[in-house]
């Protein structure tokens, strides 16, 4: 029991720091609230789906960034999709980079786009690691409790 409580506390702390450090935002809470007995791992499932689906978008953006001259419309369109997905799971930092990227697209600033894209990928990867660790711990602690927001 103690260990279980410990787990729970750890999970709660981890979760809180994700919020405090700005990795995730209120939208993540929306996902948590959707989690229930019929979908005990909903949040993790959604995040997994996001990472799988967005991977191909990232590849597309990379390919588009390799072209010369840059097609800013296409880049903007791709990033728009990516931003939509990222915001749906509450990936706050990733979303911020997406917004910045789109600004550069509008300004047709290729350099800025590339820089921001690299930054975005970093945030994207970091968030993935953090969330994976979080979900793993949550599962260990006991999914129904750890995964949901403390009521």
């Amino acid at each position: 029991m103690d260990q279980r409580n410990q787990f729970h506390r750890q999970v709660a702390l981890m979760r809180q720091s994700l919020f405090d450090q700005g990795y995730i935002d209120e939208q993540f809470v929306q996902l948590e609230e959707l989690q229930d007995d019929t979908n005990p791992n909903f949040v993790e499932e959604v995040v997994t789906l996001y990472y799988r689906d967005s991977a191909r978008l990232i590849v597309s953006i990379e390919q588009a960034l390799d072209k010369s001259p840059l097609d800013f419309n296409k880049l903007d369109s791709l990033m728009h999709q990516f931003k939509g997905s990222s915001s749906s799971i509450g990936a706050r930092k990733v979303k911020a980079e997406c917004t910045q990227f789109r600004e550069y697209c509008k300004a047709e600033n290729g350099e800025g786009c590339m820089r921001t894209f690299q930054q975005m990928k970093k945030e994207y990867a970091t968030l993935k690691k953090r969330l994976e660790a979080y979900f793993q711990l949550a599962r260990q602690a006991g999914p129904s409790q750890a995964a949901s927001r403390p009521k």
Partner: protein, 654 residues
């Protein structure tokens, strides 16, 4: 709402909105999963879809199976706004748009295209909880519309209507009670008898092309300002059609016209801008197409018949079975008529006897409406093209029939009408069409020689500027430009129809929309189509066509195929060969097709080597010819090219 009625319906309203049937369309799987879960949490019945066309097919296959649609704005296969329009016109369901884009322009677009709400991503569950209000509001507004339109008429009618609706007879025969009781009943029915399409539920009328055409004819007869549902209903004289059906349809129609006139103002710019952008979203154009037709019709530019045809296409709700069946009948009639009349050359042989694709017919019909008289200016302008369409009507009438055969299930009714008005020898169409139709447009292509008609049809594509090719017709034996033009006209339709047909049973959404869109966009493509048409003329292509036409998307494919295959194409089509997918992006395709066709024209259809016989003779209408000639750069009245072998213009019965 009287308290009594609501009280009795209280149990119902308590359950409502639980069980609301929502269709969500979004290509983003993450978002789709989240929204689905949110809606389920709200106790709604959710169906998800990641492709717009799949969504349309679903909606068409399950009429009255959904209460509301939520759709993303940016989707790869179809622009969300286009989907929005189609759903609104075909199924009359409330549609909510969603997007991560919160720019004012995009949101405004949602409003102008008729979305009942616009949600910014990320979506929160609170926003979804109350979407049921849109369902109720829509129904309430329809009732109100009915009320308003009936208020002009005497109360007796209303009372009569009330007695007709036995289900709603409980309340006193007062508008308010009636409405509220009906509303209550709707909700009740919705909850209890989802699948019950009986009278209990507010019946959703399927506005087939034929029905819509009748509607438009009635409206035009009365005058758009004076058209009230009751009178329209009387004129239409369709058993089973209620005044409220007419009222709600009228409301939409008016919106459509309004939008059309708004759009038409900057049409020139739009068309120009669209010329080069095949990828341009259809929304801007689409709004012009169908609406423009209507507007034109309303403003007197388009003959009612043509408008009806076009509108039928645009407004008609696809009803796969009925749609197809109708055309069949018409086609038969037409064909027999045409066959006897025309003895074209044979290459065309196929005279549509084969009624290849009903699906295509839709498209054809649509084109029929296109005025045959083409004037360069008109071409340049979508609106103008619409006028042409109206002009075309006369000559194209026959052609229309052919088109109908082609596969536009919806058009059949139109065909009948336009046929007469257009005057274009329907026979011509089939003949040419065969060759052309084979191409894929569903027979529309025939009229090429008539250029006027074809020009009209295609003129959106050609808008005068593109037409140059008319001269090019001759080489092919039939004015390739014309043919292709018509083709083009049809193609857009075809494409649209095809896309509709594709997955659904005849979805055939609003051909009008697409026609116009495509026309504009595809101006340059016209030539390509021409080639295509030409290709068809030649036996080789012709044969290939029919087959392709058969398939739902045949027209679209055909076009593509044509452009690719024909020798003619080489010149023009080569460049623009559409790589575009037939399905989702028919618009694009058309554009490319059109463009290529346009180019081809100038190059001279000769390459195609198609027998020129197909077209020229069909269009006996001198006016059309000259008009067409004027439009087309190369084509002059005295252009020998138009003297196609085997085709005596004079002989062509129009």
């Amino acid at each position: 709402m009287s308290t009594s009625t609501w009280k009795s319906g209280e149990s119902v309203s308590e359950q409502f909105p639980a069980g609301l049937r929502v269709l969500v369309v979004d290509d983003d799987p993450t978002c789709l999963k989240i929204v689905e879960k949110m809606l389920k949490t709200c106790n709604y019945e959710v169906t998800t879809c990641n492709r717009a066309e799949k969504a349309l097919a679903l909606l068409q296959a399950h009429r009255n199976g959904f209460d509301i649609v939520i759709s993303d704005v940016h989707m790869p296969d179809m622009d969300g706004f286009k989907l929005l329009e189609r759903i609104g016109l075909e199924m009359d369901l409330p549609v909510i748009m969603m997007s991560a884009d919160d720019g004012k322009q995009v949101v405004m677009k949602g409003v102008t295209h008729g979305a009942c709400d616009y949600l910014i991503k990320p979506i929160r569950i609170e926003e979804l909880k109350n979407i049921w209000q849109h369902v109720v509001r829509k129904r309430k507004n329809e009732w109100k519309e009915l009320e308003q339109s009936t208020s002009i008429e005497d109360g007796v009618d209303r009372a009569h209507k009330q007695s007709e609706d036995a289900d709603y007879s409980s309340s006193a025969n007062e508008g308010g009670n009636w409405k509220s009781s009906k509303r209550r009943k709707d909700e009740e029915d919705e909850l209890e008898e989802r699948d019950d399409t009986s009278t209990l539920k507010k019946p959703r009328v399927v506005w087939s092309v034929e029905l819509h055409q009748q509607f438009v004819a009635a409206v035009n007869q009365l005058g758009i300002d004076k058209a009230v549902p009751k009178k329209i209903l009387e004129l239409m004289n369709v058993p089973g059609l209620t005044r409220e059906n007419v009222a709600s349809h009228l409301q939409k129609y008016r919106l459509y016209l309004r939008r059309l006139s708004g759009v038409s103002q900057h049409q020139g710019g739009v068309s120009n801008s669209f010329m080069g952008t095949q990828d341009a979203t259809f929304s801007p154009i689409s709004s012009l197409t169908g609406l423009d037709l209507q507007t034109l019709a309303v403003t007197g530019q388009l003959p009612p018949q043509s408008l009806a045809t076009l509108q039928a296409v645009g407004f008609a709700r696809p009803s796969p079975k009925s749609g197809l069946s109708i055309p069949m009948i018409d086609q038969r009639n037409l064909f027999s008529f045409d066959n006897s009349k025309f003895k074209f050359g044979e290459g065309q042989g196929q005279q549509q006897q084969q009624q290849p694709n009903l699906g295509n017919n839709k498209q054809l019909n649509l084109l029929h409406g296109i005025p045959t008289t083409m004037e360069p200016k008109q071409l340049a302008n979508l609106h103008q093209s619409l006028e042409n369409i109206s002009n075309m009507q006369v000559p194209v009438s026959q052609g229309n029939s052919i088109l109908m055969h082609r596969g536009t299930a919806r058009l059949p009714p139109n065909v009948g009408q336009p046929v007469t008005s257009n005057g274009l020898p329907g026979g011509l169409l089939p003949r040419n069409g065969h060759a052309e139709n084979g191409r894929g447009a569903g027979g529309y292509t025939n009229p090429v020689p008539q250029t006027t008609s074809s020009a009209a049809l295609t003129f959106p594509l050609n808008h005068g500027t593109e037409l140059p090719g008319t001269n090019s017709f001759p080489p092919l034996g039939s004015p390739p430009g014309i043919q292709s033009l018509t083709h083009k006209g049809q193609f857009p339709q075809d494409i649209t129809v095809n896309s509709e047909i594709k997955g659904s049973t005849a979805g055939g959404f609003i051909p009008g929309y697409y026609v116009l869109n495509d026309l504009q966009q595809l101006r340059s493509h016209d030539w390509e189509l021409q080639n295509v048409g030409l290709n068809f003329d030649s036996p080789q292509s012709a044969s290939s066509l029919p087959g392709s036409l058969e398939s739902a998307s045949s027209s679209l494919y055909v076009q593509q195929g044509i452009s690719r295959s024909g020798p003619l194409r080489n010149s023009s089509s080569g460049g623009s060969k559409p790589s575009f997918p037939v399905e989702g992006t028919h618009n694009q395709n058309l554009g490319s097709i059109v463009n290529s066709s346009v180019r081809i024209k100038s190059e001279n259809v000769v390459d195609a080597g198609c027998p020129s016989t197909l077209y020229p003779e069909h269009f006996g209408q001198e006016d059309l010819m000259s008009a067409l000639l004027k439009q087309q750069e190369g084509i002059g009245p005295g252009n020998p090219d138009f003297d196609f072998d085997g085709y005596n213009i004079d002989n062509i019965p129009v």
